[in-house]
Symmetry: D2
Subunit: 340 residues, 4 copies
């Protein structure tokens, strides 16, 4: 039984996910595509023999579509996700779930009203083998309670269009999600401090930034965001517990000794680094849709929490480094919380 | 267009490949299963909605089968592969291609007569990301010509049924194949020397063994085979060239510091270690079948060469450590050789 | 020409330094020892054939003493160092230089009045091969300007007498000194934030702590202090520059694979971790005394700066985490500064 | 009590040892120097205030010399060592102990006749912290009985005067000694096989070579000797036992990430790699002389065994790769053996 996926948005990410669902993930097929750029939709659809539909609404309503993938422009996410919920269809939404916390909350409310989870948000790190192994180690109890997390998120470079607030919104948001999951804990405050600025990139950009988070359990997180580090795409994460620590592995890389150096290649981008995680993410999503189960990946609530926490980080940056409290609503029971 | 695979042999490996083709590899489906143990075939088939057929011959002839996977008992491989060639159907044969070099050669001859490659042999290491990265480094020329290779192949334990000659036939055969490919060179002699025997396992078994190979280009290979090393499944490979070396990476593993140690887990078996390589192997095979291209993986010739080289290693072991020349036929042009 | 050293303080550290000067460092001999505990002084002296003198003042004045090593109780340091300066004798003072910034400043002023440097303070990390290699890499310019430093200082355990302010005064003080030297920069503010407390140790102790420093050049430092981390003595330091990063190496340790794990031992205490640095520190000091040169190690000014910065960290801790400015006097010219 | 050392031979190695004994090793002083090149002796002596003596015989007989260090031309070693034994003075002899096994045996016999050990041979690796840690691990029993050893000894380059037999005599001899000690076992056969020759160096030289040794306990050793590996000085050693393995650590080196690579520097020569081992070697020797104890380092017997084993390797190389038995005399009781 093949899951028939309709894809909204045929840009770079959308095309990559179409390829993945078609060529990599067993049991999934892309049957419909839509995009505000009609020819782009047509081209992407023709490569996989999918129908081109005029709008997200049409695609969501199509009887040839079992489940929806939203990979369009961020500001359009909320509407498509709400439509999918209204249609009762499973929907995978690339991050962000919505561009405002208020819109995220509308989705949460709609999903609650629907009565069961339909939404998975595209935070792929939860599916990375390294993070999963870290979670296993933490769950084993061998390290005792977690106390601190040290992280770094480095990109070789970003384009000129990248702005200082995107450090939180586009970059740190991955750590925000994966740490909430890894620690099974909630972030309660955020602070952003700004080191000396790199001279190797744009005047307008505060880069690097250091973000500090505190969780409900008192865990302290420091996260370096450095999006023009020049040397590669480098993701570091170390959780320190009462009796030891666990560290995210670097990707396996062939060691080379030549010309006085022993070395390994550093990945150059997130596609290389997290390609397997993307595959696993869609495999898991496809399996949940096929079985009729709720999705096991990040929920609408996780998308909402990420929005509120990144908002706090942005406010801290704009305030010159104040500690900003994270004001999350009570977590509803259907998302594992205590609220009704 | 889904590739419809018929599977001959529903034992442990066959079942694993059925799962892989069904759940992991996009574009493939298992449509028929046969096994000398009828109920076992029925059970495996029912899990994936495949037909149960009475014999390999029936399965190969079925119009519902586009391509054949042979995962049955080794001695039956040659017959099934020859039947598939006779039927003009692509066939993936788990190693060994055949249990004698003579039978391998019959397959090679049949395939040549057919006029194009239909056979892929199940040496999965060529699809492992680490070996592929090594090959890239060698191909870059940064290391100059390869001169030596140091390898180890260690299993935690083997069952009592494992015999001393299996060190070459079942274990070293993986290095024999992957090194021929990695070096793009041919093995011309083999020698087996026997260290002190481990006391942790069976009296009847010569374990460990050290195998020495020489290639046509004069590269010297030493390969430790130690199938009861106790601590895990550990594959090491280092190629030393004129200007440097490259080393197979250990799998990425979370670093843990606790109780006075910094450490990482060692994989416990080959399924864990080479799971991704098996997936990539079948993805590539499926893609070649779907596109109508010749398979890109190990050929019948590679299966034949592996048989002759393992025979030489076995003879060396049985002779008490003589250097045994590898007597390969000239390589036919259709396998990249100079012979007609 | 042997440097004759008089040692003030024959406790654990003093005895270790006596051993080092006698057995390890060429060109040095301990000729006199004093301690408030007379029998302890006598025992330490007798082991190396040194004289026992009744007081620090007598020892400093002895014609058998070329240079003085102060390893007594912290509150007595200032007096001994000032006496040595008054006598015009080189003096090595274990950290702290003095227990108050005011006393440190009195030493700085006395040394300036004397006209040349006589004092070296016992911050041994500047002599550690790993930190020195980091400094070489930074000096090469390959990384561009430093922007951030991530550090951790972990002890397996501390005794019950250890108090929360000692995290700054006794522990972080080593990073404070070595980072000022590594970056060739000055720390201008300090902040201490407190993660969830470990349950594995004392109720009275804030452990771990995270210290944040900013330098004059805008470099941001985060430093984890965790003195009951259980697993070992672990020192981490990573400097991130505009074009790359450099990381302090872990000590070389034999890799062991056994029982499913690949691992290395973590040092258990600072004597094991920094033994070679202590040797190098005293070798350099002895050489400078023998040659009549000013000492190349940490100066009285460095001792003063460390005192002011640790005071700021203590105030931040006690304030609940305020950012506290570091109020250093202008640096005198004789310490490489611009002040008269 | 300072040990007064007389140094025979003031070439490069001799000068380095004079520096070491003077500046690094506590409790030692060089009081006399001789060299066949008089001005060279005078210059070396003058730097440390030592006397220049006309001959080794004069130096050994001098009342100002407590112990002798032989660092002259290899063919002169035996005579000086025999003279020192005749004089009853401790003597440290750089490798080789003598240039023929017969001369080594004369030294062994003379020392036996003297009644106690006076000779230490300059195999410094036994004092390397990494090898010592390996020995500790083996001694702990955690790995069970050793079964195999995999080694590599690589130099960046050698000068044109280096000949093929020096691979055994000058290079492999270090592994031969350290493995005998590490395993507490005796080498009983040697074999040399020759891979494809590197094109990056001299026509006359067989480089690399692979040496295979077998021990009395059946341990099998493979040792890559590659003295023009181009990239650096690289020493690898891995002992595989019944229950696990232990690996010689690479030297601690700062990790650098820049320009797409994570890397560490590889040492460029043996002085850099084993500097600490040389220091420890002379510290131990000086301490043994000072205390009147027999030396703890490699004995005359070890020097003799190394000579016989390297002879066997040379014969194997010259025979085209035959297995050559090592014909050691029975080990005398005073060297831990069973012979009278
Ligand atoms: Mg994503
Ligand atoms: Mg296979
Ligand atoms: Mg100190
Ligand atoms: Mg030596």
């Amino acid at each position: 039984m093949t899951v028939r996926v309709g894809v909204i948005g045929a840009g770079m990410i959308g095309q990559d996910h179409i390829r993945r669902l078609t060529e990599v993930v067993a049991g999934a097929a892309v049957t419909a595509v839509t995009d505000i750029d009609g020819p782009r939709a047509a081209e992407a659809a023709s490569r996989v023999g999918a129908a081109v539909l005029p709008s997200g609404r049409d695609l969501i309503g199509s009887p040839e579509v079992d489940a929806v993938l939203v990979a369009s422009w961020g500001p359009s996410h909320a509407e498509h996700v709400l439509n999918a919920i209204a249609a009762g269809k499973p929907v995978f939404c690339e991050k962000p779930l919505a561009t405002t916390a208020a819109d995220c909350l509308r989705i949460v409310d709609a999903e609650r009203a629907h009565g069961r989870r339909l939404v998975q948000v595209g935070f792929m790190r939860r599916f990375d083998a390294g993070y999963r192994r870290m979670k296993d180690v933490l769950a084993s109890g061998a390290l005792g309670a977690p106390l601190m997390v040290h992280c770094a998120h480095r990109n070789a470079t970003v384009p000129e269009s990248y702005t200082s607030v995107m450090a939180a919104q586009d970059t740190a948001v991955h750590e925000i999600d994966v740490l909430r999951w890894l620690l099974d804990d909630e972030i309660v405050s955020a602070q952003v401090i700004t080191p000396r600025r790199t001279s190797r990139r744009f005047e307008h950009l505060r880069d690097p930034q250091i973000m500090l988070f505190e969780t409900a359990n008192g865990v302290r997180v420091d996260l370096e965001i450095f999006v023009n580090c020049q040397y590669g795409y480098d993701i570091q994460c170390e959780v320190v517990g009462e009796a030891g620590l666990v560290r995210l592995p670097d990707p396996a890389a062939a060691g080379v000794r030549t010309a006085g150096r022993h070395g390994t290649a550093v990945p150059q981008d997130w596609k290389e680094r997290f390609g397997d995680a993307f595959d696993a993410e869609f495999r898991a999503w496809t399996a949940s849709v096929a079985s009729g189960a709720e999705p096991c990946g990040p929920s609408a609530w996780d998308g909402y929490a990420a929005a509120v926490i990144t908002d706090a980080a942005v406010r801290s940056l704009e305030s010159g480094g104040e500690v900003v409290a994270v004001g999350l609503k009570p977590r509803p029971a259907c998302y594992g919380g205590a609220a009704a």
